[in-house]
């Protein structure tokens, strides 16, 4: 998508960007909040930033070698925070609503976060990783649900994180009414699909396919820190 978005100035690019923003607004919001802005300011800032981003179509700046959409967003946001905000606040406060960020939703989510001592940058990366995972897991879940296999997904979702089950496979398969072999196949398929979707999702935020693994490792470290 990033590749799409940076390629041209067409409406297609704009849409792609808007779509990405819709997914990843929360990490940016969290970053802005952690930098010490009030909820209202944080909301305005996030909106304003996205508005500006879409307005300038500045994704054309995302050079391929720079790679990651994540780093780009953070750098742009920092730039926006330092330069633009003061100037724009006076005239534009509360006007741009680019992403459907319902009032209070962001803050409600923020207030549920456990306290920690992360720097804003670390927090941003961690939230980014969490958002990404949420999106992917949800997508897998929706796929299974639309295929009428929602219950199977819920029963086997443990296997997304690893193959160790809470209960023996034999017991689990008996509960699901599958043979143990069939269940192992189902677990394998679920894991494969999940990995595929996760890599696809990450591929949309990096420049080349080869960077995917690097990005996963980076996000893994961000989660662990």
């Amino acid at each position: 998508m990033v590749l799409n978005a940076s390629r041209s100035d067409s409406t297609c690019a704009r849409n792609a960007l808007a779509q990405l923003c819709q997914i990843y607004w929360y990490p940016l919001y969290a970053y802005v909040r952690r930098r010490g802005n009030s909820p209202e300011d944080a909301e305005d800032l996030t909106q304003g930033f996205f508005a500006r981003l879409l307005e300038l179509n500045s994704l054309s700046d995302v050079a391929c070698e720079k790679g990651k959409f994540r780093s780009f967003l953070l750098a742009s946001l920092n730039h926006y925070l330092s330069d633009e905000w003061d100037r724009e606040r006076a005239q534009k406060r509360g006007r741009d609503r680019v992403i459907s960020l319902e009032a209070g939703v962001a803050e409600a989510r923020w207030s549920r976060e456990p306290a920690d001592t992360l720097t804003p940058e670390k927090l941003f990366e961690r939230k980014w990783a969490m958002t990404l995972l949420e999106a992917v897991v949800q997508r897998v879940q929706r796929e299974y649900e639309s295929a009428g296999k929602g219950a199977l997904f819920m029963a086997l979702r443990f296997s997304l994180a690893g193959e160790k089950a809470e209960e023996p496979y034999a017991k689990l398969s008996a509960e699901l009414g599958l043979s143990e072999g069939a269940m192992r196949v189902a677990v394998h398929r679920l894991r494969r699909r999940y990995r595929q979707l996760l890599r696809d999702e990450i591929a949309q935020t990096v420049a080349t396919e080869t960077e995917v693994d690097g990005e996963i490792q980076h996000l893994y470290r961000a989660l662990g820190s």
Partner: protein, 667 residues
Amino acid sequence: MNTKTIKLCRECGKPLAPDTLLGLCPECLMKAGLAPSSRATVPVASDAFVEGPETETKAFVPGTKLGYIGDYELLEEIARGGMGVVYKARQSSLKRIVAVKMIRSGELADEAEVKRFRTEAQAAAQLQHPNIVAIHEIGAHQGQHYFSMDYVEGRNLAQIANGKPVAARAAAEWLKAIAGAVQFAHQRGVLHRDLKPQNIMLDAAGRPRVMDFGLAKNLGGDSTLTNTGAVMGSPCYMSPEQARGRNDLVGPASDVYSLGAILYELLTGRPPFRGKSPMDTLSQVVSDEPPRPRSLNPGAPVDLETICLKCLEKEPVRRYPTARELEADLDRFLAGEPVQARPASALRRTMSWSRRHRWVFSAAVSVLILTLMGLAYGLWEQTRFLIWLNAHPGYVKAAGPRTAALDSLLGRVFGLFLVFASLLDVGYRKLATRAPWKKLFEPPTHPPTLGVTAAFGALALAGMVAILGLTARGIEAFVWEGASLVSYEWLFCVYIPFFYMFTVLLQVVTQQRRISVEPVSGAIKLYVPPTGANIPPVVAPVVASWLNLGFCVLLGLSMILGYSFWPYFWLMLGLRLGGFIRWKLSNLMSEWKTGHRPLRHGIQWLAWILVTVFALAVLCSLFLIVARIAHPKSLLGPPDNLSMAYAGGLVAGWLLVQLSLKKRRAS
């Protein structure tokens, strides 16, 4: 228990957040996305251990748990808590089995904390005592701090007690040994600060051994309390001064408190306080008294209970000053000698109760003082009046024709009015419910038509006017001939019918327009019910029933003071307080209910009774005073000293209302 169970990831063993990502571990989810070939190159996460002490550069798959930390070869994971993970390990150089505790990264936030942790651990490492799990070494491995200690094979006290009381003698013996160990540490300047059953191991020989000395302050201590209650240990064993964050008051007596809390749990199978949330527990620790152990386990010895409660005193100075004293008292208990701890006296208990319930206490005191003042003033006035009357014999009033006429009228009219009012009441209820007689107290289903309502209202009003006429004649007799207005006959003949009529009138009015009464403030709202809507039953005191009750109390008081005992008054009061009658707002009718109201409601009811009665009494007093000013010749006598007492009670009642409001806000 307050300790939340934390689910751990089966793959990497990290604690999981329950509500995100369907309860899955984000790190493992992320790792699962790697292409199979590149999975082995994931850099080591900060908490993964590297195989071999020298091979830090070698990449290693995260989630591999066992390896080396420094000199220690990790053998198996023993326990996991908010503070970190404990492993059984073999010390390579000395070929011995030890326990190694890894401190969770993030627990020691900055350099200063790391330094403090090291200082305290060094002090704790000096403690060599048979009942203390000794610390061997502290160190850091890849930025993670750890310390090694004796490996104790056995179970901790929490596992042994397992929610049930243990034998009192065994508990006393264990606690004595623990107190000895704690005293040993205190003498060397080390406080534990986090004594709890989970921290006390019973080794293979049945010896209790205390773990984690001196480490609690920096690790998993109070700093994590408000933000991450899930991670924090249970505050059940924390002393009140720790719970209040008064670190300046924390000292040996705080550990004595925790020892008492452990004894409490051993005796009863539960900690002294446990709330719905950690914060709730903390507030209980600060302000509540624990239930007596013998109320939970009648088999617990009295002396041990006394010792336990002495440890659990809120004020450090009231506890055993040192663990040594506690140890000595436990020794006396075990030897069958009398213990030195004494149960709190009734006076001390009252004092501590009054400190915790300042409002009730001040209300009670103000009632007492004002009542005494009122009585004194009344006596003084009475004496003055009698002296004055001696000097002016012409002012003595005598019953005359007005009183005689009134007496005969009262005798005849009372029965008539009461029957009239009752018939009106019952008739209206019957019309409004259209139910069998036994269901007369059900909510109305068929509000009568406006015409019928108006007729009933007019009748009730007529009855009231007649009674007011009677009252006027009574006042006339009172002013000119000194006939009593608060006598037995008056109460029966005027007040009862009057309030009965008033009730009927209110009913009639509220069938068409519902009245809602705010139960606390007593504010009355009138509004027209939405058409067709069911009338929800609302439990609330209603003006009419309160007035009814108020006059019953007035009547009862006059009975107690001058006449015979009257059971109806007590019945009404008891029913009102016990909550057997519910007054329904929707129909102003009482409803019989079994079961009790909680005490707080009782206080509220009591407050309302006081307010109602005293408001009436004050009105009477005002009337007397006004009459006296307006007509000096008809000197009415001294202000009723009872009224003065009522006035005092009015203030008290107001205070009680404030109290119940305050409690309500607090909850």
